[in-house]
Symmetry: C3
Subunit: 157 residues, 3 copies
């Protein structure tokens, strides 16, 4: 309502990575009526520090996992803008499935996925940017990426 | 059509726990049009017997996992009532993702998640209370909870 | 637009297995408005060669896992036809969650789930048959099946 997402992104001095391309037989996102279904995204390679691969609880700390989840968020924002033309068309984040590549005894998946969720709140606001969510530990993820997240946005068309 | 969910709950002598609060950056449920997206819920602490944490196949039996899944159901019912004002606004259960914290060789995830699904059938009826579902084994779950379930309800607004 | 799915199935000389029945308290698919939510399906037993159970990366190769995912696809097509009366009522595949029973160090989940996704593209076309998707590794799956897939189709009613 106040600052729109694209302007907010500028305020935050965030630059989105190049939109990711499918690594297999799928689309990055599919729009049905007013819901945008976003495919599972991994962390984009955004700098030299943010971890892309590794298992949280063994190779990566919770804080590193969280940075990785934030990188997934930037990657997803790039897909959303690329699909809709502008992030300003997003009405709200509806639902997130946050999947963490972690050890069997790891317990802090919610803190890891907050790296994604806090970014969404920063860009879309504390109400529209915060949705329903599950944050869980997977047996493994493609190419050993640290985090994979899929989500659904409500959009205006 | 016959007994409404709130009356049915009374018949079953079920008391719902206090609505859970988010443990991280998310909402317990988000309503979009006629669909209520419910976040991943863990087992509420409803008595001294029902297990909240532990791995099915190692720390917990299938029966204990099923009790835990039923506790997740009570917790979700509490969120639904808290969000909509009344369970009577639920038209049907659409879809459930039932996630079991279990050992790699565990095979009875459907029996565990039935603890949730049978409760939904008791409260909303054999048609409206039975939806599409997946029941799967996770690598790990937050705080080592035994079961995490997310679901979608169709509701009247 | 060109060849309809049922005719396409004939061209491909594909025979669908008998529709699977729920193994627990759920429905194989639920229709809400124009979206068909399909429950998690395992591989149908379609011949003597296609693996139904086993862990990819240990018991099964990537190629065997992919065959198993294709068998899941045939099984899902059977459910969709059984629910809607005809595959020609499918407008598009919206979203797929592809869950692979694999070892913790396995990395090629997308290739496995392509067994499902390529079948959908063959039957529904390169646009309508390709949707959003996540392909991930699970800790375990019911009855030790190799692959479990749930998905959402947009349909005409």
């Amino acid at each position: 309502m106040t600052t729109k997402p694209e302007a907010r992104l500028q305020e935050l001095r965030l630059t989105l990575p190049v939109p990711a391309k499918p690594v297999a037989k799928y689309k990055m996102a599919v729009l049905v009526d007013r819901l945008l279904y976003v495919s599972g995204h991994g962390p984009a390679c955004i700098d030299d520090k943010t971890p892309v691969t590794g298992r949280v609880g063994a190779d990566l700390t919770t804080e590193q996992g969280k940075e990785s989840a934030r990188a997934v968020g930037l990657n997803i924002l790039s897909t959303v803008r690329n699909t809709l033309g502008s992030l300003d068309k997003v009405t709200r984040l509806v639902k997130t499935l946050g999947m963490v590549n972690c050890t069997a005894d790891y317990k802090d998946q919610p803190q890891v996925i907050n790296g994604f969720s806090e970014l969404m709140a920063e860009v879309f606001g504390e109400d529209a940017g915060v949705g329903a969510r599950s944050a869980v530990g997977m047996g493994s993820l493609p190419s050993n990426i640290a985090v994979e997240i899929e989500c659904i946005f409500e959009v205006t068309t």
